[in-house]
Amino acid sequence: MKKVSVTTAIMVMTFVSLSAMSCKDSKKEHSVDAMHSEMNHDEVMNHDNLNTPNDVVDYNVQTSDAKQVMSDYMTLKEALVATNKEDAAKAGKKLESSLKSFDVSKYTAEQQKELKDIIADAIEHAEHIGKSEMDHQREHFKTLSKDIIDMVAITGTENTLYQQFCPMYDGGSAWLSMSKDIKNPYYGSKMMSCGKVQKEIN
């Protein structure tokens, strides 16, 4: 009988100390994550520096970072068109990390300022899409799309993009697509063809 009570006591104490420790661990992981993303950032920067000399600035060529962001955005858009919450969350997280490693050093000072602002805003929306329900994901996608549209105005694009617009969702909402056909990311199958091409971006 005594043994049982001692064992129970030990178990309780272990539980308490373990839960206290696990709190600390999760904090640690977080900071390791932050370091990791910074490291990635450095890698990307070095990589770019090796391939293109810094003084050559060609605004007509979309950088690899800008291309990656656009490709992640399109993956996210497809997931929303398909009304697939899990895929959209995954794409949101991917986009978040691509945005975080976006190297803006090749742009003019003014463009850098604008880009940093756009990226900071877009990161927040991508982050929320990574952890939200479908209707929230779509809400954030609306503002995210505005950010990405403004971003393309600075970075340019190699592929032709179509800016599309659905007047019904939240007082009118735009998005970008690689194809002319309308596939509505705000409604999915509920109203797949709602919208029109607003602008062609080359």
Partner: protein, 150 residues
């Protein structure tokens, strides 16, 4: 019976023990120049609503309830306030760019509209923080106006 006593004793020791773990208080005497209410100067009723329902977790100054003196309540509140301020800090409002401001205002409208904010765990105790339908309407109207003026 003996086991129950031992467990009770251990829980008591643990409870007393955690009372000594300090938490950081989110309090400040100064209203910074970047404060939302200071910068935007809303009408009195809006200002009161925002202070009563939002400022405890979304500013640098929380008015704490008495039970915040007790763990693990203090941890729980500290976590909420940290998360709340990371999402939106009214005290640092004016340090945001217009793009970020517009984003935040949009989110405020969506959160209030869908009753997600103020949090139900908060309004459970702070009854005055709950928005009536009428209050919701005037808040959303005013925030929309501010959004349009950006």
């Amino acid at each position: 019976m003996k086991i129950v006593k031992i467990i009770a004793l251990i829980l008591l020791v643990a409870f007393v023990g955690i009372q000594f773990v300090p938490t950081e208080l989110n309090q400040s005497d100064v209203v910074p120049k970047t404060d939302f209410l200071l910068v935007n100067n809303p009408p009195e009723n809006i200002s009161t609503l925002l202070q009563e329902s939002c400022y405890d977790c979304h500013s640098n100054n929380t008015s704490y309830p008495w039970y915040n003196k007790m763990q693990p309540v203090a941890w729980f509140l500290e976590g909420h306030i940290k998360e709340g301020k990371a999402e939106l800090n009214f005290s640092e409002w004016d340090s945001l760019s217009n793009r970020r401001k517009a984003s935040k205002l949009n989110s405020i409208i969506k959160q209030v509209e869908s009753d997600e904010m103020p949090l139900s765990s908060y309004t459970l105790i702070h009854k005055e923080a709950r928005f009536s339908e009428e209050e919701k309407t005037i808040i959303i109207q005013w925030i929309t106006l501010l959004d349009d003026s950006l």
